[in-house]
Amino acid sequence: MNLLKQFGKYILMLSVVFSRPDRWRFFRKHTFLEIDQIGINSLPIVALMSTFMGAVIALQTASSMESPLLPDYTVGFITQSSTILEFSPTIISLILAGKVGSNVASEIGTKRVTEQIDALEIMGVNSLNFLVLPKITAALVFFPVLVIFSMALSMFGGWLALLVSNLTTTEIYILGIRSFFNPFHITYALTKTLVFGFLIVSISSFYGYYVKGGSLDVGKASTQAVVSSSVAILIANFILTQLMLLS
C-alpha cells in the first residue's frame, strides 16, 4: 500500500516537473551546469570501469576457449556483444545510479532541509521544475554519450589485454568485433540508457525533494535513492529486453 502511495506521489511529482520552465534562460544555464556535474564529471569513473571490464571480459573469454571448433575471432565477438548488450548500458548505469543518484538526492535533500526549496516556492518559482528538469534533461542528453564512450573503451580494453597477454592478434580481434554486428543492438542499448538515465535522476530527485528532518535523513534518502534506482534499472532492463529483443 505504501509502495503504491509512493508511486502515485512520484507520478504526481513528474507531472509538476514536466511543465514549462519559468525562464528558458535559467533552464538552459542549469542544464549545461548539470551536464558538467552529472555527465562530464562521470567520465573518469566510466573510462576506468569500462577499460578494465572490457579487459576482463576478453581475458575470461579467451581462457574459456578450449574447443578447437571455436574460431579465434570468438573472443572479439563476445567482447563486442556483451559490451553492447549488457555491460555498457546496464552495468555502467548501475554505477551511475550510485554516483549520480546519491549526488542528486543529497543535493536536493540538502536544499530541502535548509529551506532553500521553501525559499524558491515562496518566490513563486516552480521548485520541482526548476531543480529537477535540468537534471533529467542533462541525463537524457549525456548518458548515451557516456555509454557510447564506455562501449569504445571496453572494446579497447579487451584488445589491450589480449595483446599484452599475447592471446590474439589485432586483426583477429577486430574481425571478431565486426562479426555478426547487429546495428539494432546499438538502438536497444541506447534506448535502455535513456530509460535508465531518466529513472536514476527522477527517482533520486524524488527521494531528495521529499526528505524530512535533518542531515541524517538526507543521508538515508541518498541511500534509498541509490537502492531504488538500482532496483528500477534491473526491472526496466528485464522489461525492455523482453519488449525489444524477444517480441
Binding site: D22, R23, R25, F26, T114, E115, Q116, D118, A119, E121, I122, M123, G124, V125, N126
Partner: protein, 255 residues
C-alpha cells in the same frame, strides 16, 4: 493587510491550529509569539501556502489565497518576501546573485537595473560592497541581512520573518529587528514576524498575536503585553528570573 479567517490545520489527524481568526495590519510589525510547538510556524506556513490549510480562508488585501490555483498563487507570492530562520540563502550563488535571482526570474529589468537594485538592497541592509561573498563566508547576522535584502528586492507588499533572531547575539538581534521595523515603516508593508524572543517583542511589536495550544489566546501591543493578566502570557513574558526580578522592581516602584 492579511486576513486569516477560521484557519484550521491538522497533521495525521491531530489538530495543530484551531479556528484562527486574525488580521495582520499594513505598515505594522505584526508578531506571532508563543512557546515552541504551539503552532506559530505552522500558522505562518499556512498563510504563505507552504502548508495547505484544512479549512478557513487567507486573504491578501481581499484576494482569497486559499481558492487560487498554482499560477495565481505564484503571482501573489511574487509580492511576498520571506526571511527564513536559517536565512535559506542559495548556497551555490554569491550574495549578489541571491538578491538578483528573483529579479532575473520575474522581471524584465535590464542587467544594469538589476545590478543597481541589488546594490541598493545590499546598501539598505548595510552590506554595501559584499556582493561577491558566498553565503558560507558570511556570519549568521550577515546571512540574515542578505536574507532581508533578497526578501525586499522585489518590493514586496508582505514580509514574513521566521525567527529572525535565532542564533544571533543580543546586539545583532537588535540590528535585525530595527532593520525589519524600518523597512516596514518605510515601504508600508505588512510584516509578520514569528518569534519567541522577548527582546524583539518589546522592541518592534506593534501588533502581537499570542498563540497557545494552537489557538488564538491573546492579541495586543508591546505595551499591553507587560500588564496582561493572562497566566499563559505571564509565564511566557516573565519566563526568566531576570524578567521576574524586573517585574518585582517595577511593582515596588509603582507602590
Amino acid at each position: 493587510m492579511i486576513e486569516v479567517k477560521n484557519l484550521v490545520k491538522s497533521f495525521n489527524g491531530q489538530k495543530v491550529l484551531f479556528d484562527i481568526d486574525h488580521v495582520f495590519e499594513e505598515g505594522q510589525v505584526n508578531l506571532i509569539i508563543g512557546q515552541s510547538g504551539q503552532g506559530k510556524s505552522v500558522l505562518a506556513k499556512c498563510i504563505v501556502g507552504l502548508y495547505e490549510a484544512d479549512a478557513g480562508q487567507i486573504l491578501f488585501d481581499k484576494r482569497n489565497f486559499t481558492d487560487m490555483d498554482r499560477t495565481e498563487r505564484s503571482h501573489i507570492r511574487q509580492e511576498i518576501g520571506m526571511l527564513f530562520q536559517g536565512a535559506a540563502l542559495f548556497d551555490s550563488m554569491t550574495v549578489e546573485q541571491n538578491i538578483m535571482f528573483p529579479l532575473q526570474m520575474f522581471t524584465n529589468m535590464t542587467k544594469g537595473e538589476i545590478q543597481a537594485r541589488a546594490d541598493f538592497c545590499l546598501d539598505r541592509v548595510n552590506l554595501a560592497g559584499r556582493n561577491k561573498l558566498m553565503p558560507s563566508e558570511c556570519s549568521g547576522g550577515m546571512q540574515k541581512r542578505v536574507g532581508i535584502a533578497r526578501a525586499i528586492s522585489m518590493n514586496p507588499r508582505y514580509l514574513f520573518c521566521d525567527e529572525p533572531n535565532s542564533g544571533l547575539d543580543p546586539k545583532t538581534s537588535i540590528v535585525i529587528d530595527k532593520l525589519i521595523q524600518d523597512i516596514t515603516k518605510e515601504y508600508q508593508i505588512t510584516t509578520v514576524v514569528i518569534t519567541h524572543d522577548m527582546n524583539s517583542v518589546m522592541e518592534i511589536g506593534d501588533h502581537i498575536l499570542f498563540i497557545h495550544q494552537g489557538k488564538k489566546w491573546w492579541e495586543g501591543d508591546r505595551h499591553s503585553i507587560i500588564n496582561a493578566s493572562n497566566p499563559e502570557i505571564e509565564s511566557f513574558v516573565y519566563a526568566s528570573s531576570f524578567m521576574k526580578e524586573i517585574r518585582t522592581q517595577l511593582q515596588k516602584k509603582a507602590l
